[in-house]
């Protein structure tokens, strides 16, 4: 308690109107002048040290988190005013659920309160033009919090000038797993219909034309696709001769049948519950019907790092700068996929509630400096050598 009040004189001085006004002007001036140089497009923060701060100041852990939130508000203001487009914060790790129930509940309540306040001040938030995005495993969040989350996201989604990514139940590994899972899902189901609808040509029609042409010329090509010609004609008819027809019917007339491939699939298998085995059957039949690859399923060889990036939660360029407070030199499972390439990590030795403009500016200026040095790299190297 004593430590909280010992700074009260200093705080009283700082809160005097003229002093406060002057400080505000200085801040504005600094931010304005920093804007003259390069500014990172995306900054990520690991807000570590709230609990330790609370412990050293002998207050409740939840109070530490409150102070952390206030520090965050100040830092966000600096970021957006200086022109950072994306800010990503590590608000809550999936691992944090292992903490005491009291603390987790406290954090959840705080998140809810802040979100409620945010939705009350909708138009004020709009003035900064920041859209809030919540990233992470939603299934782990309490329903009442989730409701407020959705409200806040919905309210700010039209703001275009800046984005605040809040990683809330998040871990970097979970994100990679999520991305892989989504990619696998994408690649094991038929591609979306819209991609095919755009084209004015029907595959059936083209094939029919080819067949006509080949019938006129010779019958040599028929050996290469033996199953297709009769199927194409019976495509509109009810499938008379069992599985083979409906399979290659899918193959051929994909545009019209994409809407209900599952139904045709279940018609094949005796029990619809056995999804994997029926799909296996389907695949075997497709293989047997003289086609090595099904045109329905995209080729997994097309998966690239970009595919995985697209399926991550964080939908923006990787951060240029990652700042972690509290002097711990670990990533702690944060943004592993985005951060491991060209991001510069900074581990700052101060607890998050104490993090403010004056701690943030040196990091930013140093980044600008190294950026400038990289730009005229030769000059910088020569200066260093001299």
């Amino acid at each position: 308690m004593a430590t909280l009040h010992s700074g009260s004189l200093q705080r009283w001085l700082l809160s005097l109107p003229p002093v406060e006004y002057a400080l505000q002007q200085v801040r504005e001036l600094l931010i304005g002048s920093l804007k003259c140089g390069p500014i990172p497009q995306h900054i990520a923060f690991i807000m570590d040290g709230n609990r330790r701060w609370a412990r050293t100041h002998h207050v409740e852990t939840v109070e530490g988190h409150h102070m952390g939130f206030e520090a965050l508000a100040k830092v966000l203001e600096v970021c957006y005013k200086s022109g950072v487009e994306y800010v990503t914060i590590y608000a809550f790790s999936i691992e944090n659920f292992k903490r005491s129930k009291y603390e987790v509940d406290g954090l959840m309540d705080m998140a809810k309160t802040k979100l409620v306040q945010m939705s009350q001040h909708g138009e004020l938030f709009d003035r900064y033009g920041a859209a809030v995005r919540i990233l992470g495993d939603r299934s782990l969040v309490r329903d009442d919090v989730l409701e407020q989350v959705d409200k806040a996201v919905e309210m700010t989604k039209d703001n275009g000038s800046a984005v605040l990514n809040v990683c809330f139940p998040y871990t970097g590994r979970e994100e990679i797993v999520h991305s892989i899972r989504e990619t696998v899902k994408d690649y094991s189901s038929a591609p979306p219909e819209k991609r095919k609808e755009k084209r004015p040509f029907s595959e059936t029609h083209i094939q029919r034309n080819i067949r006509k042409g080949s019938q006129l010329e010779s019958l040599a090509e028929e050996q290469e696709m033996p199953a297709e010609p009769p199927v194409a004609e019976t495509a509109s008819m009810p499938s008379s001769d069992a599985e083979n027809t409906s399979v290659s019917e899918q193959d051929l007339d994909s545009s019209s049948h994409l809407a209900h491939p599952p139904s045709s699939q279940t018609s094949l298998s005796p029990s619809p519950d056995l999804q994997p085995s029926s799909r296996l059957d389907l695949y075997a039949q497709k293989k047997s019907s003289s086609r090595s690859k099904s045109p329905h399923l995209p080729d997994p060889e097309n998966i690239s790092a970009e595919t995985l990036t697209r399926n991550t939660y964080i939908n923006c360029p990787p951060p240029e700068l990652l700042i972690r407070t509290s002097g711990v030199n670990r990533l702690s499972d944060f943004m592993l996929w985005q951060v491991h390439e060209n991001t510069e990590c900074k581990f700052i030795d101060c607890l998050w509630p104490e993090f403010n403009l004056w701690k943030f500016l040196p990091a930013l200026v140093e980044w600008q400096w190294s950026q400038k040095k990289a730009m005229n790299g030769n000059g910088g190297e020569r200066a260093k050598a001299a």
């Binding site: 001036l29 003259c36 900064y128 979970e174 060889e301 790092a305 592993l336 190294s370 260093k384």
Partner: protein, 317 residues
Amino acid sequence: MVAPQQAREVRTAQLSAQERERILKPYLPKTNQGATHQQRHKQRIRPVIRRTIHSLLFAIIHLIFSIYIRIRQAYHAVLGQLLAVLYYHHRTPELIKRDVSGLTKVPKHLSLILDRRESLLDDVCESAAWSACAGVSMLSIYEKTGILKHSLPHLHRRIERTMTSYYGNSPNKPSISLRAPHLPSYSPPTSPDPSINGHDGVSSQRPHLTILLIDASDGRQTLVDLTKTLAEMSQHGKLSPSDISSKLIDAEITESVMGEPDLLILFGAKIVLEGYPPWQARLTEIYHVQDHAGGVGYHVFLRALRKYGQAEFRVGR
């Protein structure tokens, strides 16, 4: 203890939404509404003045900062030189052992990020020797381009030679096995098998160091390859997407590349991972020396181990 929190809650509860907005108003960025003629004139002049002030201040800040950073760099360079002199290994395993003797823990799996430069092979050999002396059992060396993977036997011979220069022909000389993901492991053909000559118990105590060489393709590309395999399996109906879990991927990645390192040492001036495998970097302690420009130095290695072992770093012994 709970009092300030309650007080705060009461205070916030008392303020209505409008009151809060009123308090916040002066801190918000200005809107361009309702400007009179005079204000519009000001709006033309003021930004010019403001921009001049800003760029002037920007120049001043960066001037001061560059002076500051040069001093800092010089300080770190001197400190680095000093430590390099004070802590030199003299190619003596006993000295290295003594340097790490006070540590509470030594990383089991140590990882290094090395740059591609002329002395790369020497860097690998030296750091392998230091790690072996310090009692590290697994050393993974990340080099972005993968040039190290080209010739495992050659590199193994070089490391073996360096080890000999450290240990001589002592029976404690650690055995080295060198491997890279997706390449067959290169184990020492000359090293005696412990089961063959385990007669005096010395050879069975002989420490072993596994060196793993990784490059940029073992990071993202491995995960992409894994996804391809999983997608194919899913297409064949051998796997459902819900089977994909952190555990499964961790098992696969650990087997095909490596597990999580305990400590990662960077020899650059700033912390940039340069494509280091993302999956494994989760909880790894990352160490670098600020403004370090001296390449792979023993003192950096030692400082990293000391930081990891939570030991105080004293200048002088």
